[in-house]
């Protein structure tokens, strides 16, 4: 006789469905990315995903786990997709392989697989390649709006396998807006001078700001479907805006505006898709607020005073480290435990 236990109700959701929702929510932003910067990003996503699924299957075989339930949970797809969106397009295949390898093996399965990893696997992979391959990781392409052309699918594939044309390459690359800010501020230029650069749009970088808007829309979809809760994105964006506004009010010509911070780099993607990874985030209601706020704060600190132009990945990993501590100190009040007792 099968072992039966309450509750005898059909579950309303599944982890597979949650992960699938994340994948769906990533589609509009990814398409916008391809629209502004060419299909290179799609090549990244497809190659990284295929690699991640293959690695997941290989590790599962080594660990003697059933393939179907684990491969079918879409978590490898989400990790690969987020990693592919974080790195520069037209990255060489070995860079993607290194990152995905670290993400899937060191970041996920060495800890016991989905549910047991303390760090966001995609960010582990990203940080490894960021530190190991600084040249490749700082070679970004300019949006089509500025250069008038993007690389097509065939060219993208050529670059992926290191067969691209170097002359064409140099013509198309440029600094990211965050990078530009950083170098220009280093040269004592004022904000108004810096913003003369064609890289900047209405509130963020050209192209980037609109991709950020699409991440936001994907994030709203995740909120509406109950896939994520509001606490982390709101706290993360709120704390970044708060500290950015503070410094901007003090020195409006020497610091970037709060909206620029919000719409640049990995902030929007991070707030809705990366920091909200349930496995590695704080889980208590108050803890999620603390966790989100900590990431927002760290992003600003790393961007302003750290040695990297963007800080979302490092901020997320640092906050991951603090998660058990945050959860411990933010336990909710249990029914019957009155706040005024213990006198």
């Amino acid at each position: 006789m099968s072992h039966l236990y309450s509750p005898f109700v059909t579950p309303s959701s599944s982890t597979n469905r949650m992960m699938l929702n994340v994948v769906i929510a990533l589609i509009p932003g990814t398409l916008a990315y391809a629209w502004y910067f060419g299909p290179g990003v799609l090549v990244n996503v497809v190659f990284a995903s295929a690699l991640a699924l293959a690695l997941e299957a290989a590790v599962l075989l080594l660990r003697q786990r059933p393939l179907k339930p684990y491969l079918g949970d879409f978590s490898a797809l989400v990790t690969a997709w987020l990693f592919a969106l974080s790195i520069p397009m037209h990255s060489p295949w070995w860079l993607i392989a290194t990152g995905i390898g670290f993400a899937m093996i060191a970041g996920k399965h060495l800890y016991g697989g989905l549910g047991f990893n303390p760090f966001n696997p995609a960010m582990i992979g990203f940080v490894v390649v960021l530190i190991a391959f600084p040249k490749e990781m700082t070679t970004w392409f300019a949006p089509a709006e500025l250069t008038g052309q993007t690389l097509g699918l065939a060219d993208s594939l050529r670059y992926l396998f290191g067969l691209g044309d170097n002359a064409q390459w140099d013509a198309l690359t440029s600094a990211t807006p965050l990078d530009h800010y950083r170098t220009s501020l280093g040269m004592d230029l004022t904000i108004s001078e810096i913003r003369q650069s064609p890289l900047f749009g209405d509130f963020g970088g050209v192209g980037w700001e609109w991709i950020a808007n699409w991440w936001f829309i994907g994030g709203v979809f995740l909120l509406l479907t109950g896939t994520i809760r509001w606490h982390i994105p709101v706290a993360m964006i709120g704390s970044l805006l708060a500290i950015a506004t503070l410094f901007w009010l003090i020195d409006p010509d020497g610091t970037a505006s709060p909206t620029f911070h919000l719409f640049s780099g990995g902030m929007m993607l991070g707030a809705f898709f990366i920091a909200t990874d349930p496995v590695t985030a704080a889980t208590t209601p108050r803890g999620r607020l603390v966790y989100g706020a900590l990431i927002g704060l760290l992003v600003y600190i790393i961007r302003s005073w750290g040695s990297f132009p963007d800080g979302v990945a490092f901020a997320v990993l640092l906050a991951n480290m603090a998660t058990p501590l945050i959860d411990y100190y933010t336990q909710p009040r249990v029914y019957g435990e009155l706040p005024e007792e213990e006198d």
Binding site: S6, V9, P278, A281, T283, P285, V334, Y335
Partner: protein, 550 residues
Amino acid sequence: MPDGSRSTLPFHLHRFHGGLHLEDHKQESATRPLQTASLPGQLILRLKQHIGEPNEPRVAVGDRVLRGQKIADTPERVAAPLHAPSSGTVVAIEDRPVAHPSGKSDRCIVIEPDGLDEAIAFEPPDLERCSREDLLRLIREAGIVGLGGAVFPTAAKAETAAAHPIQTLIINGAECEPWITCDDLLMRSRPEAVIAGIRHLQRILEPAQTLIGIEDNKPEAIAAMQQALDEAALTDTRLVPIPTVYPSGGEKQLIKILTGHEVKSRHLAFEIGLLCQNVGTCAAISDALDRGQPLTHRIVTVTGTGVREPGNWVVPLGTPFEHLVELAGGFSVERPEPIMGGPMMGFEVRLDAGLVKAGNCLLILNRDHRPEEHECVRCGRCTDVCPAQLLPQQLYWYGRARQFDKAEEYHLFDCIECGCCAAVCPSHLPLVQLYRYAKSEIREQQRKSWKSDRARKRHEFREARIARQKAEEEERRRKKREALAKKKSTPAARPETELDPVQAALERVKARKAAQQVAPKNTDNLTPAQRRQIEEAEARRRKLKQGPDS
């Protein structure tokens, strides 16, 4: 307030944390009128149908019993006797499968009804003359227990509570579990009995106010109860429709909704001046006090996707569940899954087990394929819905890792096992099952450590006793030695004649021996011939004694 029963003042409701809006599935059974169940071939009555001390049979195999006759009882206070639900013959007193999550067997009295349904003469007590103690005794004698599912003996609960000032008496008509409609049908068909029972409880407890909480998905029950309440004109009694959110019928949750108070962990409601009783219990109290009838029947909902004609029946206790399935038109699915209670907190039962006082519902579902379990992804949905405001996910991790002390630290024992966490878990983990397991493991550990503690204490006590006796003995000897040493060191102070006692004893023995040897008895008045004979004999003896070498 002169007329408390129909106050138009808005009532301020409170909210409890979390909970779920579930498909309530009440229509299936609530749309049919209350029916009376036919008698089954056998009534299988578990001896213990309550929380507390076990009952002993008061009948023997072969006895004829009448409806209402007491068939099992115990002198203990926290218990409730059992009465025969119909007339017939006791055919067995033996272990039978009972309605229990473990599917275990327990002692049951089996009655074969004779179909006459003859009853003992029920004598309603003279309530005017009854003291509070009399009322409590009558409630106990009627075998009444909490019919909301907890089956705690009502008299014991009320008696303990009556020792405290009760501010608010709460009547629980929430019936928040999906599918179950037995309280709904009771309130619709016998609202006056519920109100009469409330009146008796008010007499015992003297609460300042009484609140009747009914979920607002039962408009007919609310209307019927309000009408009965108006007719009875009870003072300071108010019917409060509450929002339909599972588990609003949990005692702690209903207290929160109606009063805003929270009962502290491991404390009871009466400690903060509150007492909860279920509507079914109130009706049973009225039956006992107004009609003199003990608890022998209860209303049972037989429903689910797996029976043809769901409905509610007044069923004699002990009726096998398979008989209830027949009443509801039989199974309508291939693989029926019989559950006693609701889908959230019920458990699978064997169909040959008999109905108990706790059995509010027999739910028949189709044995569906259970969705696959995944690893916990820490999404925290369980935390959002937990009405006890716990962190179910942390409890899961600690329970799984057998770190029971940590699980206790995270308030495992405040879990009411409502099943909300498991119902929303996207990884489909058997959370409640794990908490039950962890609780039982902890209780077992506590029992063991209590036992070993006791054994250790006993051992230590014994060791201490032996050590003490040794020490005492030692002390006695030491004193004696000291005394002797004193004697020896001061011989001048004592007369020479006084000898060492050992030596004196030896002297005495010597003297006695010598006397024995020297002085034969009865030799004073002897003839010369006799004397001679004796001397000869003595000479022979001496010769023998001295042996050949002398």
